[in-house]
Symmetry: C2
Subunit: 519 residues, 2 copies
């Protein structure tokens, strides 16, 4: 049976003394990591957690966050990582929705956790997993695991749900995506096969672990028996310092993080010679940024994963070998890559018929990484998984070599004068302008065309450009109807909890009170 905990059994048997986790001056071997997990599982069992019960964690990243995931599996329960960006009502909704009995709370979240005792009545116990003094009424993490003997692995696995990742909060109620042991481990296998990373890697968790992109790497790196380095949250200097100090060989990031690193003035002062591979995904990658980073870090390989939480989360990889600046291959950088081994990716029309190569349709995916469903949402699950394929809601096309090009969220597509415009194509054109740092293209209301193409940009430090200049720059690269009609300059982009540019927020002022959905 596929069991995430077998990763721990294997790693501690193969190399008990190898460093498993490094965080803030703490360092645990695989023997210690497994022991702490088995003790924490005992604590959770004492608090009433049994097979299938939910355990939530609300915290920035830490060594304890990794222990939380595996202890939830070890006791046979379901791990529910909670977004650190949620407002209190959102957190309350999540905890009510999943019915978590136990919440682990990190520093900065003690007050919100305390408030949940009232707002989420099913919540029975709060474990304080921070670095300070344990608040009254909460259970001290370290004291509890020190006092509790390890328990045997409950040996849940297969199609049992391992994790609920909540997603989609911007489109109304957030939904708990049920990922099984098979889902999570199949995603990890795909990552290993397409990046060819092995157990020798030293991996940095740079992104938030409540998100499937970063959370799934916890499983992959443990399956490989690799060393995890954890930083509390993403900062440019924090990532660069960690790479230098811990000789990191692999880090995965979202494109916004990579843009920030590329724009770091002190980038050259860090020793990044240990870095072998940067994995990225979670949002469209501007090709100009990717090219610039590839030129800046020529010794580093790159691998893109495209997917979504419902796909555990990767369904394609653009492999390191596909990342080439050769003129005859460079166009591939705009692609999300090819379907991972074991999955089938199709592009279909509204009746789920395959469309021809090169034609845009909806991307749908079948395979072991497709979620079990949305927690307590059978109708929404049936709709998303109709015909056995996850309907991603992403528009895209396949080329003749099976590479997928993601054009847009279907709902983000701009229809102007009867033409479909995909924002990513426009954004890639705008981003080739030397003064532009970031760009997001949205549709705004237009009395004649329905929608007009509108670009929101930020400039690189000390640089600027006029709207006419930017639009003229685009006209040399893409068809006239795709070029922005208007340019809006901002100091910074509004970012989602996953550091994606929030197009919702950019659209809101334009569409307030109008018919188009703004999320």
């Amino acid at each position: 049976m596929m069991q995430l905990t077998l990763a721990l059994h294997r790693a501690r048997r193969i190399h008990p003394a190898k460093t498993a986790v490094v965080f803030a001056g703490r360092r645990w071997t695989y023997s210690q990591f497994a022991d702490r997990v088995a003790r924490l599982a005992g604590v959770l069992a004492d608090l009433g957690i049994g097979p299938g019960d939910r355990v939530a964690m609300l915290s920035h990243s830490s060594d304890r966050y990794l222990e939380f995931f595996f202890a939830a599996f070890w006791v046979g329960g379901i791990a529910v990582p909670v977004s650190t960006r949620y407002a209190q009502p959102e957190t309350a909704f999540l905890l009510q929705d999943c019915g978590a009995k136990v919440l682990l709370a990190g520093d900065e979240f003690v007050d919100m956790a305390e408030a949940m005792r009232v707002e989420a009545p099913g919540l029975r116990h709060i474990v304080y997993a921070g670095e300070g003094d344990t608040p009254a009424g909460m259970i001290d993490y370290e004291a509890a695991i020190a006092a509790r003997a390890p328990i045997p692995d409950a040996r849940r696995g297969g199609d049992d749900v391992a994790v609920l990742f909540y997603t989609g909060g911007t489109t109304g109620r957030s939904k708990g995506v049920m990922l099984t042991h098979i889902n999570c481990m199949s995603n990890s296998f795909g990552g290993m096969v397409h990046t060819k990373l092995g157990g020798e890697l030293i991996g940095l968790h740079a992104g938030p672990l409540y998100h499937a992109a970063a959370g799934s790497r916890v499983f992959t790196n443990t399956m490989l028996g690799a060393t995890h380095v954890v930083i509390p949250r993403f900062t440019v200097k924090g990532v660069l310092e960690a790479i230098q100090q811990h000789r990191i060989s692999f880090v995965s990031m979202v494109p916004t993080m990579m843009t920030m690193i590329l724009n770091e003035p002190d980038l050259d002062t860090y020793d990044l010679s240990s870095l072998r591979l940067i994995g990225y995904g979670g949002a469209p990658m501007p090709v100009a940024t990717l090219e610039a980073l590839m030129r800046r870090l020529p010794q580093v390989g790159f691998a893109q994963a495209y997917g979504m939480t419902e796909l555990s989360p990767a369904c394609t990889y653009l492999e390191p070998a596909d990342h080439s600046l050769d003129p005859d291959k460079v166009h591939r950088l705009a692609s999300g890559g090819r379907a991972i081994v074991g999955c089938d990716l199709r592009v279909v029309d509204t009746d789920d018929n395959d469309v021809p190569v090169g034609q845009i349709g909806e991307i749908i995916v079948a395979g072991a990484t497709v979620m079990k469903g949305y927690w307590n949402q059978p109708d929404m699950t049936a709709e998303a998984l109709r015909g056995g394929y996850m309907h991603t809601g992403d528009a895209g096309y396949l080329d003749a070599d099976g590479y997928v090009y993601v054009s847009d969220r279907i709902k983000d597509m701009i229809v102007t004068g009867g033409e479909n415009v995909y924002s990513i194509e426009v954004e890639n054109a705008v981003l080739t302008h030397p003064a532009i740092r970031e760009c997001a293209v949205i549709g705004v209301p237009h009395p004649l065309w329905g929608e007009a193409v509108h670009a929101v940009v930020t400039f690189k430090a000390g640089q600027s450009a006029g709207a006419d200049d930017i639009i003229a720059h685009c006209r040399q690269r893409i068809a006239g109807f795709k070029c922005p009609q208007t340019i809006e300059v901002r100091d910074a982009m509004p970012l989602s909890q996953a550091n994606k540019i929030l197009k919702t927020a950019l659209r809101q002022p334009h569409w307030a009170g109008r018919a188009k959905a703004v999320n």
Copy 2:
């Protein structure tokens, strides 16, 4: 869901025109391969095969053997590859045991297939999959698929049984090992991760496809979307010519085949420059042979998989990087490697307690590659899988780095004067003698010690040595009580259907009429 057929869907969507299968002058693209599979599935459906029904094949290897596997999956059935070495009663037992309704028969097996109409009453139809004229009463393979439209994939997968590989015929009744879609695909993932092979490989199927070692590569290479080259059966020249002609990059073999290749006088006349990796397993690998082959083919990597049919079949890999002739690493060549990602491998005493590092016990394994069970043998299944671990019946130990050293089949262990002697250790010592080509060590009855250590050897062409000389050679390498007491010279070794040396046959004359089980 994990579905083996998704491998075909993926490959034909990514690269429909890529060569999928090459056999005897025929060449099929992935588009054609998938089309032929969907048509053959239609033929099988017309013959009454539905979900869970068994379809058997009795044939040497061919392109149609690959189509048989995938058509069985496509129609939702179970593929049952039949050993080409079975005598008629064994074949009849197998077909009765699994209740196959349809049998595909290759050339040389037409008469036996015909006889099965009487001996296996459940058998309803025979499809002739050979190269000659179709015998009366049998269905012509090519005519049938040409006449039948493709059917939709039945989309079976997950814990559904995909294949029954029969094993263990030498220990009484043979048993059908039920491998699910998850089993087979997890084994393939392990192979990909530990060999780092990708879709670019051109793989040669050199071994018999009714055996899990070779059969499982059909699944792996299709999942990768790689090119399969098939030869009807193993011959030294056939393998070497195929490597040269088709620019083979990967081939897997059993140790006996590697010995034969090493001893091929014309080896140097073949262009083997395309070869990147030789995978091997299925029997203990004599270290001297491996070292000699590594020196002979320095540009080739080697990967050993240790396992058994019940483990789909690999549970460990000795990775290419572990194959080193450096003095401080060369001892690793005697190891089967480390547990594959996703599996836990333990060495335990008779009560299933872990024994310390370096101590010999039974190897047991948990993970996604552990079989669903033995077909219609619930008691035997429960016994083998007790505690959630497959009990391999192999004796071995783990070193401090998690490498497993397989000492012997537990039942093959020799007990002499109260000491346990593991035949592999003795065989490795004997094989360092320059005149020895093959060696098999068994226990023979001894009035004083219970058993004595007895070595059966073959010599290299034109060479020989005396028993005293061979024994003296061993005394310099292993403890006196482990050295052979007696040496038996043979012209050739008796081989099993998987080209393993048949110790059963070697033991028989010594133990006939005595208490020790001779299998």
